[in-house]
């Protein structure tokens, strides 16, 4: 095995609706993997299942953090999954809108720091030091992502593309082993998409983080990812390298319909 993420036969039912049907997936360490598929294929549901926001009806999700044992994460509380080393962004941006850019990243340090109520009230030296480290580390990440100039701005005042990048910075602040990006390029213009692509590559190369992304921008998916999984109607219909997947007749059918002219 040896994957960071091993998903075996995960299914998810919402009442009588089967949103996911026995999906398997493996992400190895340091890999960039893309998950694509038409709208409503179940990609975001899959993300919610592996991050434990939903409890999958069947199947198993195993996760192996950088330092640590292989752990079964389905059924765990989502915050513990994050603490284990799986961080995500959201398709419809979910920033803490009324807080500053820096604070958004600082919050994500929560699971890596430990000051409690008494620490907050009496502020001993250790807590002050920890607090300083939180600020420094968060600012460093903002710099890495290129948002440090507006660190005191309110998150909701950032332009759309910057909000998406801030979500990535926030996810990185939890020190993840695996980063899940849900449509990071949605609503971005070509230049922003291009710089996002470089950013994702940089994160993988410099921080040694495996990345699993959902994306509709095909040029980005094809040039960025090493392997691609394709979903349709809750089922996995193809997997492989970008070249393999783009030749797959079932994928072409899913995307272009029965009689492909394009």
């Amino acid at each position: 095995m040896g994957g960071v993420l091993d998903v075996t036969a995960v299914s998810m039912n919402f009442g009588g609706l089967r949103a996911l049907n026995e999906v398997d997936m493996q992400v190895k360490s340091g890999e960039i993997v893309a998950l694509i598929g038409p709208n409503g294929a179940g990609k975001t549901t899959f993300f919610n299942c592996i991050t434990s926001i939903y409890a999958p009806t069947e199947g198993e999700v195993w996760f192996t953090p950088k330092q640590g044992a292989r752990t079964r994460v389905n059924g765990m509380k989502p915050n513990l999954v994050t603490a284990l080393g799986m961080a995500r962004t959201f398709q419809n941006i979910r920033l803490f809108k009324n807080m500053s850019v820096l604070e958004n990243v600082m919050i994500a340090r929560h699971c890596r720091t430990r000051a409690g109520i008494l620490g907050a009230l009496f502020r001993p030296a250790a807590v002050r030091k920890e607090e300083r480290e939180i600020v420094e580390r968060s600012y460093e990440l903002l710099k890495y992502i290129g948002l440090h100039r507006s660190y005191n701005e309110q998150a909701c005042n950032l332009p759309y593309g910057a909000q998406r990048r801030l979500e990535i910075a926030r996810a990185l602040a939890t020190d993840p082993t695996l980063l899940l990006l849900d449509e990071p390029a949605a609503g971005m213009n070509p230049q922003e998409t291009e710089s996002l692509k470089h950013l994702v590559q940089k994160i993988r190369d410099e921080m040694d983080i495996a990345i699993l992304l959902i994306e509709h921008d095909m040029s980005m998916v094809m040039s960025l990812s090493e392997r691609i999984y394709v979903m349709e109607y809750g089922c996995l219909i193809a997997q492989g390298t970008p070249a393999e997947v783009s030749m797959d007749p079932r994928v072409i059918k899913a995307y272009l319909g029965e009689e492909a002219h394009a």
Binding site: L95, F96, M99, I107, H110, T113, Y151
Partner: protein, 405 residues
Amino acid sequence: MQELKKSVLVSLWFMFLTFPIMVVRVVEKSVVLRWENLAWIGIGSFVLSFVWRWALRRKEMGRAASREGANNPGLMAQLAGANPALVRAGSALLLVAFAVIPWLVTTYQTNILISFMLYVILGLGLNVIVGIAGLLFLGHAAFYAIGAYSYALLNQYFGLGFWVALPVGGIVASLAGVALAFPVLRLRGDYLAIVTLGFGEIVRLVLENWSSLTGGPSGVSNIPRPGLMNMELSVAGANIYIYYIVFVLAVITIVAVSRLKDSRIGRALQALREDEIACEAMGIDRVGVKLMAFGLGTAWAGFAGVVFAAKTTFINPASFTFFESAIILSIVVLGGMGSNLGVIMGSAFLVLLPEYMRAFSEYRMILFAAAMVLMMVFRPEGLIPATGRRYEVNDPELAASGEGR
């Protein structure tokens, strides 16, 4: 011109509407028409409508200006952010003023100030739950009652003194808050408000009906005032002593709550307010943080309750009705949710003003309502809106480029 026309129309409409009640009067089978009333209503509504329109226009202009200027902090923000030394000097001056006041004014005035500071403590406690953690909470008076009754009953049955009861009352209220939080973990917004309102009533009804323990509606009397090293204090002296206890407690509350807000826990609470799902996805234990919010908020109500019982020496359930919760919530909302200074101003507005304007006490509710309407229109975020903390980072590059703000 347009505005004039509109105001004339408004006044005509009002004259028409109020004609039957203000002008027509039946005196012994004959109808008297009081035309002078009509004129007064016309003039009054014309002026009011004109002023109203002018104020609205001004507000719109202000909003447009702030949009253009991007970052145009309000007056209070300027005051607060202007000069830390000045702010420190100002608060030191205020502290000294509050410390000497009881020696200069009558017992009655001291009493008013004590209740003002009690509401500051209550408001700040509720602010942790409503303002910082964003959980709409309508049962704060119940925890005030729990604090007060813990002192009263522990004293009556076990002879516990004030200084032992003070922490015990806070802890009991805090535990009760956590106990309430368990069943309501899944609720948000309106639903949470209704459940907490219900809880407040349950506590009050239990206190009212468990006569064998709590004395029922007649309450508990002869609660001892706090003693000062076994000295017998006169009523006025005891009052001043309690004034200082509340004063110190209020200062402690202010410091504690603002420290809490700026800490790792406080950030987690704010994250909970902003977005629960993102909050969990960022590794924050939603359940733990929610319990913490309730426990931390209600503890202050417990402390305030103990002091209240000691101050009045007599408590009964009638002091802890829903009206009390509503007042405390209004203090928080009117002052500015999440803003500590706002809560202080809010309780000054809602506790001190009614006391000093006893002459208008008949119109209190009307003025209350008018104040609320005006606030919703002109300052929807409260008297002093909460400002996020600004962090300083040590980055020479950013400073060099001159863009750090």
